[in-house]
């Protein structure tokens, strides 16, 4: 076992973890934050996407020990003072989810995409969300939400 210390949503946190603990399980079980989901567990679906040092990554495909010293943002860290993040609000406004299981990963991937490419075209948004699967709605409303969220984030 090793002690893994990292900053999650602005707070320094640490817990014991064995070397084979995946980052997603560390976040969910060791840190008790269950907003980040495990969908496929085979690196395909993107439900587990979190931000690590400003880049979206699949937390089921990274070891907790590899995240030592990093800054992690999960879906729990998006809202501030009870106000939804603009991308969360856009998903709500555009009915971009049904069951919501994929949404935490969709949100983080979308925010990463829009932060790096504020004027992303519809095609770029679709290409940029290739790592996230939704099994309910199809992607039309998700793409609409990302466009709306992007406009709002530009302010």
């Amino acid at each position: 076992m090793a002690t893994v210390s990292l900053t999650v949503n602005g707070k320094v946190m640490s817990a014991e973890a064995s070397a084979d603990t995946l980052l997603v399980n560390f976040i969910r079980e060791n840190l008790g934050m269950t907003g980040t989901h495990v969908g496929c567990d085979t690196s395909q679906c993107g439900a587990c996407v979190v931000m690590v040092n400003g880049d979206s990554v699949k937390s089921c495909t990274m070891l907790a020990v590899q995240a030592e010293g990093t800054e992690v943002t999960t879906v729990e860290g998006l809202a501030s003072n009870g106000d939804l993040h603009p991308m969360q609000q856009a998903f709500h406004d555009n009915h971009a989810l049904q069951c919501g299981y994929c949404t935490p990963g969709m949100l983080i991937s979308s925010i990463d995409l829009v932060t790096k490419n504020p004027n992303a075209t519809e095609a770029e948004i679709r290409h940029g969300l290739e790592g996230n699967l939704c099994r309910c709605t199809g992607y039309h409303n998700i793409v609409k939400a990302v466009q709306a969220g992007a406009a709002e984030m530009k302010g």
Binding site: A19, D20, D41, T42, S43, K58, M62, L63, D112, G131
Partner: protein
Amino acid sequence: MSEFNYAMASSADDASTQVKGTGDGSLIAGGMTLIPSIKLGLATPTDLIDLAGAGLSGISVEGTTVTIGAMTRHVDVASSKEVVNAVPALSGMASGIGDPQVRNRGTIGGSVANNDPAADYPAACLGLGATIQTNDREISADDFFTGLFTTALKEGEVITSVGFPIPERAAYVKFPNPASRYALVGVFVSDGPMGIRVAVTGAGINGVYRESSFESALSGAWESATLDGVKADESSMASDIHAAADYRAHLVGEIARRAVAASV
């Protein structure tokens, strides 16, 4: 998941020493193939030696060569202005690997060392006549890729960088499997200091290879019409649930033709 020990290496030589001292240890770069393989029980290393702290990332363009450190991520190659200017086919190839999250972790060294028969980087290395630099020696791409998931790397040998000679023109075109984004067929073509090269991934029964019949034809005239109607040898094509050998043989010709048409 099987249990393993984990340690960070401080340099390529340190990683080599550490991994040689383990029972059945493995180096880990971005882990985009290795971690899923461990989860599925396809790999059961006793130890993982992490190259993340070994100082092996970075891109430089000097003279006629683009040199990319082994731990440089796909996203960094895809977005590097230096690479875009020097070899746009290479940055474009990197921008099409997997999905954004894979590109945010996956590395050139990991991809090259793994030599997945449907991976993109082996085609870029072979198609540009790259040189793979290790902690011990230089290996030409022509000698490096030796078969499915096998390379010329010796036990404990660590890739430190890959040098790509800048071509006069080149392109990579991929016909991706829509689910995995791996190449059903991918063809990297180039014309430059390493001669005329046509490297094919995703199709060959022994992994990445050079399609020498296309290369000979293109040395007569570098234009897409030269490859009108050509096919690869069906008997050397892989065949699986995604595509039969005759379809892959056809695709190799068609994708190579498109790559020549797209070359800049």
